[in-house]
Symmetry: C2
Subunit: 186 residues, 2 copies
Amino acid sequence: MVKSMTKDALLSAFAGESMAHMRYLVFADIAEKEGYSNVARLFRAIAYAEQVHATNHYNVLRVFNEDAKISSGAPIGPGDTSKNLDLAYRGEVYEIEEMYPVYLEIAKYQDEKEAQRSFYFALSAEKIHAQLYKTAKEYVDKKQDFPLAPDEKVWICPVCGHTHVGKEPPEKCPVCGAPRGMYKGF
Amino acid sequence: MVKSMTKDALLSAFAGESMAHMRYLVFADIAEKEGYSNVARLFRAIAYAEQVHATNHYNVLRVFNEDAKISSGAPIGPGDTSKNLDLAYRGEVYEIEEMYPVYLEIAKYQDEKEAQRSFYFALSAEKIHAQLYKTAKEYVDKKQDFPLAPDEKVWICPVCGHTHVGKEPPEKCPVCGAPRGMYKGF
Ligand SMILES: [Fe+2]
Ligand SMILES: [Fe+2]
Ligand SMILES: [Fe+2]
Ligand SMILES: [Fe+2]
Ligand SMILES: [Fe+2]
Ligand SMILES: [Fe+2]
């Protein structure tokens, strides 16, 4: 059984990741309609990375079964793709600078190894997400799509959500060690 | 601008639907591993219906952009497929008996037409979801998969989340009127 404070952190992180996943799917459709098809791919890929994080947090809670009232912060309100990228960026920065560092401290203090691993995986990926959204916004603000060559993809590690843009995924995931063949391309 | 209490209801419903979507994706993978491939299809189809609901609620919030602390109830804790179906059923019943009827009253009292529509669409689909999960659990408790003939699918209306099991979707959606061709099959 996960200790109570770590459990609350996992629940809140599950809620936050589930909502981020959903927002990015909404934003992908908007980007598609505005003609930014690579930004749409980026949103869909990162939505999948957030699904990996949500699933990891949820699975750490496995032995726990009750109704929970969950509270999680989220920037809300879709707009055009430039605004959505800003909102996505701010969400990632909140996770990098506040949420996951604090949750990681809680899990360390309470010696909850599985929760630490799940928070560490997420924190590592969110740093990349923030950079990608920042870059994409710079292009969109010049009315250009996010640059992806025809043979390039956005690659997501299905174990930890590590996110990589390029022709191929890394030989093994730099965060969790999963082999290249496991990555999912968008 | 959506009035404040209706806005809170939309935010909470967005959080609840996002988490339901995510739980059902987790449950689908577990069902697949246990050999219940039709239950997995049911979970994936209904996960998509919850995505439709979350997207509808989110889009009603369009003009609103701020950081929100969101609170939503959710039964948490994955187990085996029988337990997951029970948990999914209980979540749907909560939405049918308490959450959406209350949110619909709030939106009616505040004369928020778009929110009413979004809550009504969700409420209508959740009633079907509860029945489907109940039926699926009865089969799984006899170690049988949810029955789907080779030419049958679980059909989801992408406008309102209406859910239909059969060879074909209805000629038009009984809830929102969308034509047959729009349904997505799982
Ligand atoms: Fe994440
Ligand atoms: Fe992220
Ligand atoms: Fe990884
Ligand atoms: Fe729903
Ligand atoms: Fe439902
Ligand atoms: Fe419909």
